[in-house]
């Protein structure tokens, strides 16, 4: 059971899925793939370069707003709008990274810095008139139109876009992990001083990690904008979304390639499954599902802090970073 054919098998199943499953499972899978993608993007910064970002919703929001604004005012289709969106998010990421690293802000303080920037931007967007401020930004909804370039179409289009994005991010992460830059990241994550002594330019490598991570994350934001067709600063830049983004990679397995994907599957199914079970037994009092979800997180973090994928990989005797 090598990692390769396990992955190809999963990909084949996912490609065929829409033909067999109903609209509800399809919507759930879109959510799974969306957060798997964002998990991979976030993991580049944390899993590879050891930088804990708790404000990644900032890049989702920037990506969404830029692409949506360009589409609404100039009709620029999503795929083209994604480029300036990624550029804006990357500049923001580089700005935060440069400030953080230059002033030697690290560990918990770096995490707090990312939170501060995300909340700062949320409040700014709450007051920006031309993006609708806090009453939200709505995209015109085209009915019954299929235009993949502009991300206009039925959910199954978004499913395949999410699948392509996730697979692409996986392959990109895998190649990065095996590249010169990837080795530099892994070295920095383990020991920055020793990495420097081995010829790694720590500052530039970290900035590269932030740039790649924020650019990828912003593409997830572009997807969000055209899938939901509306954005509120309070929801898209929210702390809750930043936390949602880090759950899958941490529960799945930090620094691994498949961790974020597995984590996203497990957590989303845990959520939907708990809701279903509770309703079945009639205990669906509001809050009950979240208490169970919290307990599950607690158990996983205490029993298997390195994440589920490394544990599972050992069981299936696959290379750890498969």
């Amino acid at each position: 059971m090598t990692a390769r054919n396990l992955l190809l098998g999963l990909l084949a199943v996912l490609i065929a899925a829409p033909a067999v499953i109903g609209a509800y499972p399809l919507a759930v899978l879109i959510l799974v793939l969306h957060y798997a993608y964002l998990g991979i993007a976030w993991n580049v910064m944390m899993g590879f370069a050891g930088l804990l970002s708790l404000g990644h919703a900032l890049y989702v929001g920037l990506g969404a707003y830029v692409a949506a604004a360009l589409y609404a005012s100039f009709g620029l289709p999503a795929l083209l709008g994604a480029i300036p969106a990624a550029i804006v998010a990357t500049l923001a990421g580089l700005g935060i990274g440069a400030l953080g690293f230059r002033f030697r802000v690290n560990g918990v303080y770096f995490a707090l810095l990312t939170i501060a920037f995300a909340e700062f931007t949320r409040i700014l967007f709450d007051h920006m008139g031309w993006t609708g401020g806090s009453s939200g930004f709505f995209l015109p909804v085209e009915h019954g139109q299929l235009n993949p370039i502009a991300l206009r179409g039925p959910p199954v289009l978004f499913y395949y876009v999410a699948l392509v994005m996730t697979a692409g991010a996986f392959v990109l992460a895998r190649s990065l992990m095996r590249s010169r830059l990837g080795y530099a990241w892994l070295a920095i994550r383990e020991d920055p001083d020793s990495a420097a002594a081995s010829g790694v330019d720590v500052f530039r490598a970290r900035m590269a990690a932030v740039a790649v991570s924020s650019a990828l994350t912003s593409l997830g934001g572009v997807f969000y904008a055209f899938y939901y067709n509306n954005m509120y600063p309070e929801q898209i830049f929210s702390m809750a979304r930043s936390i949602e983004i880090i759950l899958a990679p941490i529960i799945g397995g930090l620094g691994t390639l498949f961790g974020p994907v597995l984590g996203s599957f497990v957590l989303t199914l845990l959520g939907e499954g708990t809701t279903g079970l509770l309703e079945h037994f009639g205990w669906a009092a509001p809050g009950a599902k979240q208490v169970i979800y919290g307990l599950a997180l607690l158990v996983i973090v205490m029993v298997q802090p390195a994440g589920l994928w490394p544990w599972l990989a050992k069981r299936l005797r696959i290379g750890r970073d498969g």
Partner: protein
């Protein structure tokens, strides 16, 4: 004496008033092995860190093959051609032995495949060939020492800085390492500057010895001469002893 590969002039560094290194000047000839000895707290490791870019000197200059490298960052100095090990070994614990050394090898290779090849060669040289896929965290202390040397060597240095690599090794392992280092020096003309307490290794390897005490040079010369120099004995055994 061969023309100097490394020259340090007037190196000084103090920490909140304590003069750890005070005006140290010396040079290491191309292809030479110089040992730096002295009691604990003499400023040896600080001197190393000033040369290797881990710390910025308060005063003084460091030149490598005629080029000034004073105050450069650790990675710039590594790229300039100085490989170093740490007194307290700092492996990339979560990575495999091969990946640990590949990180260093990337400093001297165009792409990853070439770096891996280079890493395998250096690991074989240091008798770690059989353990390349094990995580660095599972290695014994001697193996970690060898891993540290391997990573420094893999960066393709002109000058190798070794900080007490023999500490904690059994005599046989010590001799084996001395043999490898001597071979590199003979075969590839690798210049070595090492800090070492294990006199057994110093006497075998070093062509010249520099003695530091309280941050200052108190003696320099051939191993035989230095070992008998009264000032050196005082520094180790303390004045009253006589």
């Amino acid at each position: 004496m061969a023309e100097a590969l490394l020259t340090a002039t007037g190196l000084s560094k103090s920490f909140r008033g304590l003069k750890a290194v005070n005006g140290v000047s010396f040079s290491v000839g191309q292809g030479e092995i110089l040992a730096m000895i002295g009691p604990n707290g003499a400023g040896k490791t600080t001197c190393f860190n000033l040369i290797a870019g881990a710390m910025r000197p308060d005063a003084g200059e460091v030149r490598l093959a005629g080029q000034s490298v004073t105050g450069l960052r650790a990675d710039q100095i590594c790229r300039a051609g100085i490989g170093r090990t740490f007194q307290l070994v700092k492996p990339f614990a979560g990575l495999s032995v091969l990946d640990n050394v590949t990180v260093g090898a990337l400093n001297a290779a165009r792409h990853v495949a070439e770096a891996k090849e280079r890493a395998r060669a250096v690991l074989d040289l240091l008798d770690l060939g059989r353990k390349i896929d094990e995580p660095a965290s599972s290695l014994t202390l001697p193996d970690r020492k060898r891993l540290e040397v391997a990573r420094a060597l893999a960066t393709g240095p002109k000058l190798l800085l070794l900080d007490e690599v023999m500490a904690g090794l059994r005599p046989t392992e010590c001799d084996r390492l001395v043999e490898i280092l001597a071979g590199l020096n003979r075969r590839d003309g690798l210049t070595i500057l090492l800090i070492e307490h294990v006199m057994r290794a110093v006497m075998k390897l070093a062509q010249r010895i520099l003695v530091l005490h309280h941050g200052e040079q108190i003696a320099e010369g051939s191993p035989e001469a230095v070992v008998r120099d009264p000032a050196v004995l005082d520094s180790y055994l303390g004045e009253e002893a006589l």
